[in-house]
């Protein structure tokens, strides 16, 4: 394993910001735990990919983005959508397949889109979002906008041709894309070393002369610092940056995964490094949170989740008469 190119988080952020990180990670964690429950209750169907264990990545990276920046994500994007500011209610209703979902129930868990927060989708084709992110950055460059396009993907995507094509084009044309590789070491059941001839992922981006960094993706403060630096570089140079965040998913790949490919010890080992537990520990050490405070936070989040579930329950199903809407912008064109 290569060493981290960025230092562990200095916790030099202030109390308010640390508590914000904690709240965001806990919101994602509890929301997804509830989603898993609702999946078993058959309220949510289709594919459901949980981000549990990886929360520090989306939360830390989002911190480096402004409201004018764009995000392109994968099918494992609840965390990104929530960090960006989308409401739990809109996401939950989407997973219920209801009309008040962010995409009227047309997309589901894997395809969350949002205009206000410039979220250009959860994309369920591995690496399929990378070329689109390059294009968004191209549009910004051609229109002299200073935005960054943040493109998140798993390490599995780096074996795809689209990764290499997108990396080359972004570097060749010096486009402002922050590529964030969420390296959780498995693509479904295939371990990194079983799919890549070279497991040092940064070297692949470096081959296109893209600057890189690797960060501990279980440490939200370290991620936020690394992402800040990375996005600063993108804004300064106008060109791309590749940030590898080393992380781990605690849950199966999706709800249909028997989990045969990794040992219990390995999973348990990573769980010891849970980004939420370790942040709480650090916050307690600093005296920035105590148990009653934590309980209050949990209570607020539980209330938010309850009302999101209520919202989804109450929302209507879209009329079947509208089935062929949104195929073309002009409804009559189909």
């Amino acid at each position: 394993m290569t060493t981290m190119t960025s230092k562990p988080g200095q916790a030099l952020v202030n109390r308010e910001q640390s508590l914000h990180f904690l709240r965001q990670m806990l919101r994602i964690r509890r929301f997804e735990e509830k989603s898993a429950e609702l999946y078993s209750a058959m309220k949510i169907r289709g594919f459901l990919h949980l981000y549990i264990g990886e929360e520090a990545v989306a939360v830390g990276v989002t911190e480096a983005l402004g409201s004018d920046d764009a995000v392109v994500a994968t099918y494992r994007e609840h965390g990104h959508a929530m960090s960006r500011g989308m409401s739990m209610a809109a996401i939950m209703a989407e997973m219920y397949g209801k009309i008040d979902g962010c995409c009227r129930g047309r997309g589901g868990s894997m395809h969350l889109f949002d205009v206000e927060h410039r979220l250009y989708g959860g994309n369920a084709i591995v690496a399929g979002g990378l070329p689109v992110a390059v294009g968004l950055a191209l549009a910004d460059q051609m229109q002299n906008k200073k935005s960054v396009t943040c493109c998140c993907f798993g390490e599995g995507a780096m074996a795809e041709g689209e990764f290499h094509e997108a990396m080359n084009l972004a570097a060749l044309w010096q486009l402002p894309v922050l590529f964030v590789c969420e390296n959780n070491f498995y693509a479904m059941g295939t371990a990194l070393q079983l799919s890549e001839s070279v497991v040092d992922l940064t070297s692949k981006a470096a081959a296109y002369a893209v600057p890189t960094a690797t960060v501990d993706g279980m440490d939200v403060i370290a991620v936020a610092e690394a992402a800040e630096k990375a996005s600063d570089t993108v804004r300064e140079t106008g060109g791309p940056f590749f940030l590898e965040c080393r992380t781990y998913r605690f849950r199966p790949h999706s709800m249909f995964d028997p989990g045969l490919y990794r040992s219990r010890q390995e999973v348990e080992g990573w769980k010891q490094r849970c980004p939420i537990i370790s942040l709480i520990r650090r916050l307690k050490d600093k005296g920035w949170i105590d148990d009653p405070g934590l309980e209050r936070l949990e209570g607020e989040i539980a209330t938010e989740i309850d009302s999101a579930v209520d919202f989804a329950e109450q929302s209507e199903w879209e009329s079947v008469e509208d089935l062929t809407r949104f195929v073309y912008s002009d409804a009559g064109a189909n």
Binding site: F113, V115, G128, A133, V134, Q143, G161, E165, N168, L169
Partner: protein, 329 residues
């Protein structure tokens, strides 16, 4: 008033369409392999680099997927990109972006994000380019809801479809039959944008409807002249837009002629011709005096040798022979 006509070829007409679009809207830019310094692999974009510069006439690496996807992203980001893919066979490397992204975003997002992108590419056989450069896959693309599929067969359409496609809020694919690039003709001085939601009746007759598009359209027109000398009068319809299909045009014609022959350079199985035929059967069955017939490309990868390629492609002689048989019974 005397219309002023200018002599030019199909390629020139496309070039004019591009130039006009680039002049009219500064959000428009062209990108693709060798569109700039080389002038386009079929010389369609010749001269545009000098006029509009490398920002707007962008040579891309050999990365069909990346630059097609970048076109999608740029369209989402407020630009009006025209992506050129050298030929339809190469577009298969970008099929993920076209099918999984361009065609789905509007729907997956519940109407939030439309993709105003135009993709142009060459299609079809007839140039002895063998089995990886000669296929007519536009019928495949016409299978996909969420994109529109155009095939200009005339100078007027070559010139005029592009701007209409750029005004469309959704992804539009324009297929340019490669054999037509050198086709000479005349175009009126005030030629401009054309409708992209209608087929066009190019010749009128009462005995038989010939339905076609692209390069086969010209074979149908030639066949129609030969048939006319024998007293067989045919309607010839240029479909122009393969998705969505303009059913009214060929249904109206069949109601008059009661016979339809579809000529399509795609392979027969699962072809666009099959779709048109089914629609006639569904909507005009009782108008028919004879079964609908189809002439398509033989179901082989395109051979190189000239005589074999000719045998594989629809030809005027087979259109004439089939039409005669359909009339004589």
């Amino acid at each position: 008033m005397e219309q002023q006509l200018r002599k030019m070829n199909y390629r020139d007409a496309l070039n004019e369409g591009l130039r006009e679009a680039l002049q009219k809207d500064e959000r428009v830019f062209l990108m693709g392999e060798d569109v700039g310094r080389y002038g386009g692999c079929f010389a369609v974009s010749k001269g545009l680099l000098d006029e509009f510069g490398p920002e707007r006439i962008r040579d891309t690496p050999l990365s069909e997927s990346a630059f097609t996807g970048a076109g999608i992203g740029a369209a989402l980001g407020g630009m009006r990109p025209i992506v050129e893919i050298m030929t339809v066979n190469f577009s298969l490397l970008a099929l993920d972006q076209i099918m999984n992204n361009a065609a789905t975003y509007l729907h997956m997002s519940g109407g939030l994000f439309n993709v105003p992108l135009v993709i142009r590419m060459a299609t079809g056989g007839g140039k002895q380019l063998a089995a990886q450069h000669s296929h007519s896959l536009e019928g495949w693309y016409a299978h996909i809801p969420g994109i529109k599929v155009l095939c200009p067969a005339t100078l007027e359409d070559a010139r005029g479809m592009l701007w209409s496609a750029l005004l469309d809020p959704d992804p539009v694919l324009i297929f340019e039959p490669a054999v037509l690039y050198p086709m000479e003709g005349e175009l009126s001085a005030d030629a401009g944008p054309v409708a992209i939601d209608q087929a066009k009746l190019l010749r009128e007759g009462k005995d038989l409807t010939l339905i076609s598009y692209g390069s086969c359209l010209h074979k149908c027109l030639e066949a129609a002249s030969i048939l006319a000398e024998e007293g067989i009068e045919t309607d010839v319809i240029d479909l122009r837009t393969l998705r969505p299909l303009d059913d009214e045009s060929f249904l109206a014609s069949v109601a008059k002629t009661h016979r339809a022959l579809i000529v399509d350079e795609g392979w027969r199985s699962g072809s666009l011709a099959a779709e048109v035929s089914a629609r006639i059967m569904e909507q005009a069955f009782y108008q028919l005096d004879a079964p609908v017939e189809r002439i398509c490309t033989a179901e082989v990868p395109m051979p190189y040798a000239k005589h074999m390629e000719e045998a594989a492609l629809p030809q005027v002689s087979s259109i004439v022979a089939t039409a005669r048989r359909m009339i004589d019974g």
